[in-house]
Amino acid sequence: MSWTAILVLAAGAYGFKLAGVLVGTRIERPLLRRSVSLVPPALFCALIALQTFERDTELVLDARVAGLVAALFATWRKVPFIGVIVVAMAATALARVLT
């Protein structure tokens, strides 16, 4: 990967971030504001689904499912944030050993 490619990627990535931060404050229409507030649940649930079931743009079932189930259970049982991560990692690691 060339320096040019890295710098173009860096500039583009920062450009996307900054554009959102600058444009966001100009959004005044209530409907748009409500739309923006719904971005996190839509995208985070999509991220969770992809990081659990996707590998190289294909859907697969593997040990990561155990981590997701463990994380859901721990969150439901009101385990603190760090605990949720540790429990999910342990469940995935264990499932890998067993399968």
Binding site: M1, W3, T4, A5, I6, L9, A10, G12, A13, Y14, F16, K17, L18, G20, V21, V23, G24, T25, I27, L31, R34, S35, S37, L38, V39, P40, P41, A42, L43, F44, C45, A46, L47, I48, A49, L50, Q51, T52, E54, T57, E58, L59, R64, G67, L68, A70, A71, L72, A74, T75, F81, I82, V84, I85, A88, A90, A91, T92, A93, R96
Partner: protein, 234 residues
């Protein structure tokens, strides 16, 4: 007080977990032929994990730099949506939002919008951003330099850390019907389109879940306010 110390501690914890993932990135970067300087430049300057993994992944599988950059930028585009969501809180920090925009990523947005009030939300953003930036770059360096000695990080279930942290932070969003619809439809869209689209596109398409979610809420809110009007409580 309690919530303040909680979100600071959680920010550092998330940073540490992400730092472990960065070791994987450093290892992958070095096995793809990137020097320490280039790997560090990516983590310092690009600073958006999914894009970095995608770019290095394309290079290591023999793809062209152009397709590596294009794919990575597609993954980075969602940060624009996060920026819009965080813009109001960041606007209160004046010029600092210009450099601060560099830290607008999945994790900082998740930690920030999970907070109950505006002050905690912006503080959580800065704390998570600082913790992630520190640990992400430290982890990258460790991965490049001694990654070989650590071996396959998936053995430790590291790939479960990221989705788990998002599960833990989702609660407040799913407490109301619109958030639940957005989440459910968003995840469904992403899963359905995965086999047919390049990496990054499923996440952007998941944003379409906002449309059905917008149709839900009014009814429920009206019911609530109707009840409270009848009972005379605010």
């Amino acid at each position: 007080m309690t919530t303040t110390s909680t979100h600071r501690r959680d920010s550092v914890a998330l940073g540490a977990a992400v730092g472990l993932v960065a070791i994987t990135f450093g290892l992958l970067a070095s096995t793809s032929g990137l020097s320490l300087a280039k790997a560090m430049a990516m983590s310092l300057l690009v600073f958006t994990g999914a894009s970095q993994f995608a770019a290095v992944g394309v290079i290591s599988s023999g793809g062209s730099p152009l397709s590596a950059v294009a794919g990575a930028l597609l993954l980075a585009a969602r940060n624009s949506l996060y920026g819009m969501r965080l813009s109001e809180g960041l606007a209160r920090h004046g010029w600092k939002r210009i450099p601060g925009a560099h830290w607008v990523i999945d994790e900082t947005t998740a930690m920030s919008v999970a907070q109950d009030d505006d002050v905690a939300a912006t503080e959580a953003f800065w704390w998570t951003g600082a913790a992630l930036f520190f640990f992400w770059n430290l982890g990258t360096a460790v991965g490049v330099l001694v990654g070989d000695a650590i071996g396959d990080p998936d053995v430790y279930g590291l790939d479960a850390a990221f989705p788990a942290s998002f599960v833990a932070l989702l609660g407040p969003h799913l407490s109301a019907a619109p958030g639940r619809v957005a989440g459910l439809v968003g995840a469904s869209i992403a899963i359905v389109v995965v086999p047919f689209t390049p990496a990054g596109a499923p996440i952007l398409l998941a944003a379409l879940a906002i449309i059905p979610a917008l149709l839900v809420p009014a009814a429920i809110k009206t019911t609530d306010s109707a009840v409270s009007t009848v009972e005379g409580t605010p």
